[in-house]
Amino acid sequence: MIRTQVSLSEEEYEAAKLEARRLGISLAELLRRSLRSILPVDASKPWMRFAGMIVTGDPESSQHIDEVVYGHKG
């Protein structure tokens, strides 16, 4: 493990501590997890870090693009 220092605003620090407590993990572990989520897993395929980056809750979201972009069809 490499030790490093990170400067956070008071709000960021409080929010991160709250989230770590909610998940039952340390602040350091929360920061490690956050970092892993934005770094590419495989450096040869950097685009794969975007796989599943959002959760719309709609299992048919990819089939409703026109409604979102162009509005409901008459």
Binding site: M53, I54, G57, S62, I65
Partner: protein, 137 residues
Amino acid sequence: MGTKGEAYVDTSAFIAFVDRSDSYHDLFRRLFDDPPSLVTSVQVVAEGHAWFLRRYDTYRALQFLSLIEEMEPLEVLDTKTADVEQATTLLRQVSDQRLTLTDAIGLSLMRLRDVEVCWSTDFHMGSTGISLAIHGV
């Protein structure tokens, strides 16, 4: 002309890839993890960007553009006036279908480049006999 095995990527494939709740997410995660040569259109990029702006915010919309930039096997094809004319002709031929100009330009580009497979969850994209990846990859 296109290379053998080249696939055209529609907006819906990108959205299925990024949205963990989409029922086609696992399929497109697998496909994008080991892709052949891919092509798409400027209009698809604009449509995807607009989708993120409408549904989320500028941060997410910029992440989508980063996805496009970082996807090395993907080429974003220029659209020429002739492509738009061909797409307009196609829209007139199938005016009973709710195709967008982006869909029609995609279909025209696929025809022009001899692309046989389309990565899309939109059944309209299979309307000209093009194989959809969701039907058997």
